[in-house]
Amino acid sequence: MPQSTKERARIVTIKGSTVEVRGLSSYRMGEITYVGEERLIGEIIEIERDFATVQVYEPLEGLKINDPVHLTGKSLSAELGPGLLSNIFDGIQRPLEQIKKATSSSFIQRGIHINALDRHKKWQFEPSKDLTKGNLVKGGDVLGFVQETETIKCNILVPPNTNGELLSIQDKGEFKITDPIAELEGSDKKKKELTLMHEWPVRVARPFLKKLPVSEPLVTGQRIIDMFFPITKGGTAAIPGGFGTGKTILQHQLSKWSNADVVVYIGCGERGNEMTEVLREFPKLVDPHTQNPLMDRTLLIANVSNMPVAAREASIYMGITMAEFYRDQGYSVLLTADSTSRWAEALREIAGQLEEMPVEEGYPAYLGARLANFYERAGQVVTLGAPYREGSINITAAVSPPGGDFSEPVTANTKRFVKTFWGLDSNLANRKHFPSINWLNSYSGYIKIIEEWALEANLEDWGRYRQEMFTILQKDDELQHIAELIGSKALPADEQLIILVAEIIKEGFLQQNAFDKIDSFCPIEKQMKMMKLMLLFYNRAEVLIKNGCPISLIISLKTVQILKRMKEDIQNDNIIKMNKIEDYIHTDMEELGSKYGYKV
């Protein structure tokens, strides 16, 4: 609905990151406006009589009263089409590489208008074989595809809420993103041209046919996640932790190694150098699942901490909309947001400028509703349109609680809506135990589902191993309290054994070195085998202890070191070597056993 421009809107108030506008008889909530002579991008967030308040995505310096404001009639939208992957955007989807080229500056200037998708690049479009002129098509139907990157085939869809009779469709050929590739005639007899791209308002969830129950794990290669606190495809997880607890590195690890088809990484109000690190490192890394460069399946949003706060608020919606676009094509998408606390703070800052009534710690009352809205856009769905497709979105979001206090509003509200909670612990981080996920206060709401999946995937021991290891860690925690009072040497031998095995589990299994070539990604098969060996060690040693073998002899066994080090010593493609370790354990134990009158 294009706005008539005969009415003239103008600025009447300028404050913080918002301006107040007057001069039109009507406004639409969420409408995109261009503010001032530099045409800074903004969005209408409040209407009062003939005033509208506009949240502006760029610094306001230099604006003055009576400067013109142009209303576009459009909502804040994402451009969706091939060319998003391996790209990096700011919070309102401006491509940062192109900004750099267009301005020849290392700094981000104001008032830059650059399309998210390259208008000149040509893509090889291949139409679907089963479509012909005269077919009735509807939103979500696949018109054809474009090989977007080596890894990802971008399905070209009829946009949601669009349907009609296919009047024409182009043959295989090269097209620019705005070239018409098909023409429809709607029931209202209006003709509509379809292109390789379309736009979608970011604050509206893209429609799907129906939600499915989640069913299979997102394999991350991170042992404590995959084995202890797993997440399913379509699941949600929060990663709360004070500074220095390794949130960002864990997010990087998930983005690198997860078996999602597409990764959307949102750097929301975080450090510039961290985004640079991703940009520098990801193109060099190989996706362990496809052997293609990781960048081929990754798209980045960087709205770093010193970029405008209003755009930080928008970045989360921009990211989830792009994630939904790939979900609708039938892909599993992992969205990692670092950090949702910065996004919540942006909400708070804008609410403060609007003089809204604050509730807890200055946050607006709708904080919980906004968070719910965001997390509910995750899930496993049947997409609209033919052919039948299933897609999913995972959300793993970092939360940065002030002072590491998990009772603060953002963490507490997030906990209401996520099913998996990986609580990072600064005590573990201080002793360089990474990932610093605390195994006592973290949880996963997907255990039952993964258990069912494990049975089918021939990992029937998973649930049992997990439970046994958990029991050891739990007992260890209790024993540590006692040992702190009386010293561990005063404990009976069987309890000292638990402390020893817990130590093996903590060092050899839960700790994982993100910077070690081998240990950074641990295949499921190796994870299972590691658990098996550690439990085998425990079970055999337990029998020895019962037969009077002194604990000191078990502590000084060479296998203890081998178990702690197998994560880095055993190549991921040579897991068969772990059978040797199994032999060592048996030999060691039998040797001790024969000494203490215990036979196998």
């Binding site: 108030t13 310096e61 990096i88 290392s106 010193n306 403060g352 002793r431 702190e484 040497k489």
Partner: protein
């Protein structure tokens, strides 16, 4: 752009004045308030509501007479004239000389608020800076282009530590032709501290390489808000336009944040934690994020900031928000200090986020990453045993626990407690190995057997 002059004001409140009935004023505009027979005061437009202009005056409003003043709006934001001649000079927060020498005249000027660096233009920092301090070089390595605050408490020797860094820091293998400069932003410093830094620069012979911006404890709080911005604008010019490697030192961030709170309260903004404004994170980010290295430029900005933790509380909003923005932190510990250990760096609490890519083969030494991991781990365990011994007595510890207990002591006494002298990273790493040689080999799970063979010759000498 045309200047606009207005007579009189309608409201005066704290550092804020409000002028009504004026049009054509720009957001963020720089202005000067002229007073009869007094020096003019400088300010900035904070908000405009139709014909009401809300202004922050940097030198406050004391003795302003409502109808007597005349405000001149400059039609542009506050700018700083920049030139290489600034090196070796002392200025106030406005960029006016305090050293009796003439003002800087230059045809180049910069907006003091700067612009965010495009993340695609940044170069990831990797060049390690040797500070000659074991706890930093070996355990929390500093790299060029990093922003690293020192979290300190009242009465701890943080200034001495900065002094030592200024004295000793060097880039290994750096070109001696490299241009080097220090930009110092004093924010609410006491005269004593200020004199300390002046002396430091004199004694280290760096005075002719320093640009000093001075806002003392007795100066205006509003002005304190522009001190770091002016300092970093200068740093950006020297680094990115003139190719200098700039060490920017800001002291003290806590004073800055207090000023931020003071002004935000005067503006009636909704407070968040402890009365600090909700935008403090973004505001601090707009300072810290100006450090770094960018493409097509020879220079770099490394930022070290003093931050006094109120009441030694690291969860206080100032250190907390800072920790979320900076690339790590060096924490000074009161109990180490009380035991006479210098520098009293809390090795476990401190962190350098950029360390992982600045050390190891081709950067420092091949054994550095795993050695530092082992030292962390063993020291952490040793501290656990110390806590245990506090309860049950040292004699009750078993043999293994005693060895770890003693390791923690030795680590603090020898490794951390190096005094105000230079120790090369090479020596620090070797010292680390010799401390580790006191531990039984079964404790060394973070270092490979090859490294153990290579570095521990007299293994087992101390254990039975």
């Amino acid at each position: 752009m045309a200047r606009i002059t207005v007579s009189g004001v309608s409201e005066i409140r704290g550092p804020i004045i409000i002028i009504e009935g004026v049009t054509g004023i720009r957001m963020g505009e720089y202005l000067e308030v002229n007073l009869p027979n007094k020096p003019s005061r400088k300010g900035r437009v904070l908000a405009i509501e139709e014909e009401r202009v809300i202004i922050l005056l940097y030198q406050g409003t004391y003795e302003l007479e409502k109808d007597e003043i005349e405000t001149e709006f400059f039609g542009r934001t506050m700018q700083l004239f920049v030139a290489e001649d600034m090196i070796g000079r002392v200025f106030n927060s406005q960029g006016e000389p305090l050293d009796g020498l003439p003002s800087i005249y230059s045809d180049e000027y910069r907006d003091i608020n700067g612009s965010p660096i495009n993340p695609t233009s940044r170069i990831y920092p990797r060049d390690y800076i040797e500070t000659g301090i074991s706890s930093i070089d070996s355990m929390n390595t500093l790299v060029r282009g990093q922003k690293l605050p020192i979290f300190t408490g009242a009465g701890l020797p943080n200034n001495q530590l900065i002094g030592q860094i200024v004295k000793q820091a060097r880039i290994v293998g750096a070109d001696s032709e490299d241009k080097f400069a220090i930009v110092f932003g004093a924010m609410g410093l006491t005269m004593d501290d200020y004199i300390y830094f002046q002396r430091l620069f004199e004694e280290t012979g760096t005075l002719n390489k320093v640009v000093m911006y001075t806002n003392l404890a007795s100066d205006s709080a509003a002005e304190r808000l522009i001190t770091p911005r002016v300092a970093l604008t200068t740093a950006e010019y020297l680094a990115f336009d003139k190719g200098y490697h700039v060490l920017a030192i800001l002291s003290d961030i806590t004073n800055y944040c207090q000023a931020l709170r003071e002004i935000s309260v005067a503006l009636e903004t909704v407070p968040s934690r402890k009365g600090f404004p909700g935008y403090m994170y973004s505001d601090l980010a707009s300072i810290y994020e100006r450090a770094g290295i960018i493409e097509d430029s020879q220079g770099s900005i490394t930022l070290i900031a003093n931050l006094t933790m109120p009441n030694d509380d690291i969860t206080h909003p100032i250190p907390d928000l800072t920790g979320y923005i900076t690339e790590g932190q060096i924490i000074l510990d009161r109990s180490l200090h009380n035991r006479g250990i210098y520098p009293p760096i809390d090795v476990l609490g401190s962190l350098s986020r950029l360390m992982k890519d600045g050390i190891g083969e081709g950067y420092t030494r091949k054994d550095h990453p795993s050695l530092s991991n082992q030292l962390y781990a063993s020291y952490a365990e040793g501290l656990d045993k110390r806590r245990l011994a506090e309860v049950i007595g040292k004699k009750e510890l078993n043999r293994r626990d005693q060895i770890l207990y003693e390791f923690a002591d030795k680590f603090e006494d020898n490794f951390v407690n190096q005094g105000d002298v230079y120790r090369s990273n090479e020596d620090s790493l070797n010292l680390g190995w010799s401390l580790l040689s006191n531990l039984p080999e079964t404790e060394l799970t973070k270092v490979s057997e090859d490294l153990i063979r290579e570095h521990i010759h007299n293994k087992g000498a101390d254990s039975d």
